[in-house]
């Protein structure tokens, strides 16, 4: 296993973890752009652009792109988040040149108007799909309230209105502001030829002109709020709660992930035993998400509407107890065992390594091996977790519930 990197004059970076024993190789262009970089007028443009990137270039039609990806048997896709847009493909090693040529080419898409109008309909269908799907927009709403006035409060998909109003000119302008080679990392993992990768990327990106890219990263203001949204058609009640957490550069993220695992892993955690094992909730979990400048701990619950008030009470008590007494040594050890074993298992797939390396480099300009990651988790102590609890109290949170029940409120705390 060898880590290699290269930076071109135009700012494009390549990072790769080479494993000559792997059966496949995976490649991804990681663009440092997402919904947080959008103005309200173009809400949803990052994600819509991600779709449009597959619609062809001056030398390829949309059908060509799809056909070529299939011809080399690639497993390819793309995703957009608040901060990143990622285009990737896993292939057999013999198809490295073809897949890099294709992914590299589509990084300079034509953004043709006729394709834009057809794809707009697909985006509107995607929005409609999520409207029908639990938790019925609760997570996005919770982000919007928690981060009100902050760029992280912006929706990734946008709304039916914002996407309908979007023009191809606005999308092209956004592309011109965000897809600078200096804002892009090409990450690769698996059985790959690094010198060939560098040569090829040099040819592909030779005409990519660099320009300055700016991201607003104001501090997020911690706040508390409770919102109950009515969804009469829903059978279950859904709760999303967001508290603050460590940011991408904060080493406390390891302790925060372990804390979330002890309190809210989907099996064997305190929330599991109290809410799920007892049948009070269908699902209950806590996850952490790190962003540039801030982070969140997100609690998610699905339960019968009539049980929601008592479940909220239970969650608040559970959080208060953790806040007061911290976590136990044996709980922490089990959480380490679960997280580290899953890290090692996931690393068996080239594609999963590629995501880890690309995201790590985009966020921190840093590479760590799986072994180093395991060591960082192993080094966390009960005191580290206590420090995280103190720095990011659950009592300061935004809670959104969606379902048939609206007469719900935040349980009283601090008793």
């Amino acid at each position: 296993m060898e880590f290699l990197k290269h930076t071109f004059d135009n700012g494009l970076q390549i990072v790769a973890e080479c494993n000559p024993k792997a059966y496949s190789s995976a490649f991804g262009f990681f663009v440092n752009t997402g919904s947080r970089d959008e103005s309200d007028e173009v809400s949803g443009v990052s994600h819509f652009l991600e779709h449009m990137v597959f619609k062809g270039t001056p030398t390829r039609t949309a059908a060509d792109v799809n056909r070529e990806l299939d011809e080399i048997g690639s497993q390819s896709n793309a995703y957009t988040s608040e901060e990143h847009t990622v285009y990737y493909a896993a292939v057999l090693p013999e198809h490295q040149a073809q897949v890099v040529d294709l992914l590299g080419d589509i990084m300079r898409p034509s953004l043709r108007e006729e394709d834009f109008e057809v794809e707009k309909k697909v985006i509107l269908e995607e929005i409609a799909k999520y409207e029908d799907q639990p938790p019925f927009g609760a997570a996005e709403k919770c982000m919007a309230v928690h981060f009100e006035g902050h760029p992280l409060g912006k929706s990734v998909l946008g709304t039916t209105e914002s996407v309908t109003a979007l023009t191809v000119q606005q999308m092209r302008a956004y592309f011109e502001q965000r897809y600078s080679p200096g804002n892009i990392v090409l990450a690769a993992a698996g059985n790959l030829d690094f010198p060939a990768l560098v040569d090829q990327a040099a040819r592909i990106s030779a005409n990519w002109q660099p320009f300055a890219v700016h991201r607003d990263a104001p501090r997020a203001a911690p706040r508390s709020a409770f919102v109950a949204l009515e969804k009469p058609q829903a059978v279950q009640q859904y709760v999303v709660q967001i508290a603050n957490g460590p940011a991408v550069m904060d080493d406390d993220r390891y302790a925060a992930r372990l804390l979330a695992n002890v309190l809210g892993d989907d099996s064997g955690s305190r929330m599991f035993w109290e809410l799920v094992d007892t049948g009070h909730a269908e699902f209950a979990s806590i996850g952490t998400y790190e962003y540039q400048g801030t982070g969140i701990q997100m609690t998610f619950v699905c339960c019968a509407p009539d049980d929601c008030a008592s479940n909220l009470e239970k969650i608040y008590q559970l959080q208060e107890r953790a806040q007061r007494d911290g976590v136990r040594e044996d709980e922490l050890e089990r959480a380490k065992s679960k997280i580290c074993s899953s890290l090692v298992l996931q690393a068996e797939r080239s594609a999963s390594r590629m995501f880890g390396i690309g995201t790590g480099w985009l966020q921190r300009q840093q590479y760590i091996t799986v072994r180093q990651a395991v060591e960082r988790y192993q080094a966390i102590t009960v005191a580290d977790v206590a420090r995280v609890l103190e720095a990011y109290p659950y009592a300061i949170n935004t809670t959104v519930t969606v379902g048939p029940k609206t007469d719900l409120s935040a349980p009283a705390t601090g008793k």
Binding site: A63, N66, D70, E71, E125, E282, R334, S337, S341, V344
Partner: protein, 414 residues
């Protein structure tokens, strides 16, 4: 690709399958007992699921908490779930943990505690699953489709009904275990890094003295078929279409799989191109082969907003009609490339191989190596697939829609 898959039949009927993947650091297993939801007796729909929930609440020397905590310390990510023919326990772990994890799961199927004081909690867990499934509209449409396409018991809702689950007793659960948590017809598959003689001995020790008779065959009732609409105040109309095909064990299966691949595998497939790329009608559209032991089918899904639902169904059906006219060489070449690269990438996952070899054993009574599957894919030709399609054109469609308005259908296309 490795050619070796170990098969060891225990005297009591349990089959151990093991595929060595010595380049991995992990091992994965799947333990299938013949207690699928198609075995739920009479009106006790949901019994297999409640039983599956109860056996994981303490077994052998461990209570319910110790059971989960020990698995966590072993780094094992495991789960239990029900399918139509089996209840299945499966998971992946660091290779060293495999013997200890198998020991725990031998206890799960052989000596569960079934704590009476946890029955009501377990029942609530199962009821929660039924409620939550009702909020998943796409899944609701597809569950209704399976019911109308396969009939009872193969197409019934896996989690049963609120009414039935509410009155199930511990005695019902004990009877389910007595009858169906049995070695005859059970499959234990392992893939990953392990030592074969040691694994075989370990499994003999853990399961060798397990006994019980083979359960009787299941008799099914004919399906309703036709078109059915479920009314819902939803943003999208969810469309499910199913039609008969051949089962996994049929000599024509690979041809059927090839034809469906042309319809739905990859971004250049026909459904994706015609319904999403060219017309922008949907975000999600798919078709896949689905197999019972004696019957196969093709199941399609599309989700679209109400005003475009009719056009979506019409284009979907038109593509099924066009499929019968045959496929082209370039379509087949792309499909082969996709399937073959998927097969090679499977070697990065002990989990998918352990599940796959268990599936093979149930359907074929033997296991195909990746090399053998690769050979079958190489052997596909346009001629063979088109001959299959001429003989088995998509027809006798069963259609379910869920949304604001019912649609016009032409069911009996031929």
């Amino acid at each position: 690709m490795p050619q070796e898959i170990h098969i060891h039949k225990l005297a009591n009927g349990l089959t151990l399958l093991a595929e060595p993947m010595p380049w991995l650091e992990s091992a994965a297993f799947a333990l299938l007992v013949p207690a699928g939801y198609a075995r739920d007796p009479g009106d006790q729909w949901g019994l297999a699921n409640l039983t599956c929930e109860m056996v994981q609440r303490g077994c052998g020397s461990r209570d319910s908490r110790q059971f989960i905590e020990d698995l966590e310390m072993l780094g094992a990510d495991t789960s239990g779930g029900i399918r139509n023919a089996h209840t299945s326990f499966a998971g992946a772990m660091p290779a060293d943990s495999l013997p200890a994890v198998l020991e725990i799961y031998a206890d799960v199927v052989r000596c569960p505690h079934l704590p009476e004081d946890q029955l009501d909690d377990a029942r609530l867990v199962c009821l929660q699953e039924i409620y939550a499934a009702a909020d998943d509209l796409a899944q609701s449409a597809m569950t209704e489709l399976r019911q109308r396409h396969y009939g009872d018991p193969w197409g019934r809702p896996p989690h049963g009904s609120v009414e039935a689950v509410s009155v199930l007793s511990l005695a019902d659960i004990q009877q389910m275990i007595e009858r169906h948590y049995r070695p005859s017809g059970a499959i234990l598959s392992v893939a990953g890094k392990f030592d074969w003689p040691a694994l075989r001995d370990c499994v003999e020790n853990l399961f060798g003295d397990w006994s019980g008779a083979e359960p009787p065959a299941i008799e099914g009732r004919p399906p309703a078929g036709g078109y059915h609409h479920l009314s819902s105040d939803s943003s999208q109309t969810h469309i499910g279409v199913a039609y008969p095909s051949v089962p996994y064990s049929d000599p024509g299966y690979m041809q059927a799989r090839g034809a469906v691949g042309v319809l739905s595998d990859g971004m250049s497939s026909r459904l994706f191109t015609e319904i999403r790329e060219n017309r922008g009608l949907v975000y999600a559209v798919s078709a896949s082969c689905d197999s019972l032991k004696d019957r196969g089918s093709v199941v399609c899904y599309a989700g679209t907003t109400t005003e475009r639902a009719q056009e979506t169904l019409d284009v979907l059906v038109a593509e099924l009609v066009r499929l019968a006219d045959g496929i082209a060489e370039d379509e087949l070449n792309r499909l082969k490339a996709r399937i073959k690269s998927g097969l090679i990438m499977m070697q990065e996952s002990s989990n998918s191989r352990s599940r796959s070899i268990a599936f093979d054993w149930y359907h074929l009574g033997r296991v195909r190596t990746l090399a053998e599957v690769g050979g079958l894919i190489d052997g596909l030709t346009c001629q063979s697939i088109n001959a299959y399609l001429a003989e088995h054109p998509p027809q006798d469609l069963v259609v379910v829609t869920l949304g604001e308005k019912p649609l016009e259908t032409t069911i009996g296309i031929s």
